[in-house]
Symmetry: C2
């Protein structure tokens, strides 16, 4: 089932802190360290609540002192390993994961117009892909599924405008 969570400007502060709380709990339980830098990077990612590039993050971090690229990339690596963020290959960007509690194959719907993103976690998609891969003798380990198109709102506008 899909988490019907919707983030509105009003609820956004909650969505950020909820994500950070989850992250803290998770890291504690796994006995890994959500250091200040990692925490900060995750926070920045959730503040945007859309795909963010590493150098965007870098720029924001640099407002509080000198930071170099490796620092950001290390934090991103860590957050990815812990399943707290996903990397979007088609955008070279990162986004917070809404349900990091258990590892999963996410699928990403990326709006061409407003650049918003929805993550769905549909077992049927991953199953079909795995089945087809196995049918040709391939052992699937990890899936990248990214769909470019229009979100509901932008699609309406597209249609009325043209």
């Amino acid at each position: 089932m899909q988490d019907p969570f919707v983030c509105t400007p009003v609820s956004h502060h909650h969505c950020i802190s909820s994500a950070l709380d989850k992250a803290e709990t998770l890291c504690r339980s796994r006995n890994v360290r959500l250091t200040p830098i990692r925490h900060r990077v995750l926070e920045l990612i959730w503040q945007q609540h859309r795909p963010v590039g590493a150098y965007d993050l870098l720029e924001q971090l640099q407002q509080q002192g000198r930071v170099a690229p490796p620092t950001v990339y290390r934090a991103l690596d860590f957050l990815q390993q812990q399943g707290l963020i996903h990397r979007l290959e088609s955008l070279n960007a990162f986004v917070g994961c809404a349900h990091p509690q258990h590892p999963h194959q996410g699928q990403f719907l990326i709006c061409k117009s407003c650049r918003s993103l929805v993550e769905i976690t549909d077992p049927e998609i991953s199953t079909v892909i795995n089945n087809r891969a196995e049918a040709v003798g391939f052992k699937p380990l990890n899936q990248t599924v990214e769909v470019s198109g229009f979100c509901a709102g932008c699609w309406q506008k597209e249609q009325t405008n043209g």
Copy 2:
């Protein structure tokens, strides 16, 4: 159904020339120009018959004279637009398309070990993805599906070795 074409070292020269012939026919019928540079880039891509980076191609082109990055990227853009090659987002690399006659959503199986690649074109995969996207109000236009794992051969080796 999947094209059961298999490229072996022995048949590889044929697979290259077949791809180039198809490309020529296609471009002629579409009234677009498969110029020498574009032809050469496509040839180099098929010679490798695995994902190749733009700068790999550049290096090979430079063996016959000075060439700069934009030249390669323009050729790649053209070939992509014509559906003659695909871009692999998770690798920043390009690979020849085995059936460029009609536009399609390809799915890519990428071997972590030997870096070989298989393209499958499974309508069920694209359909399921589109359905699920539409179910959440999203209008899907383009899919990126890339699966990382082991090809049949390498998976066997993996299992016997460890």
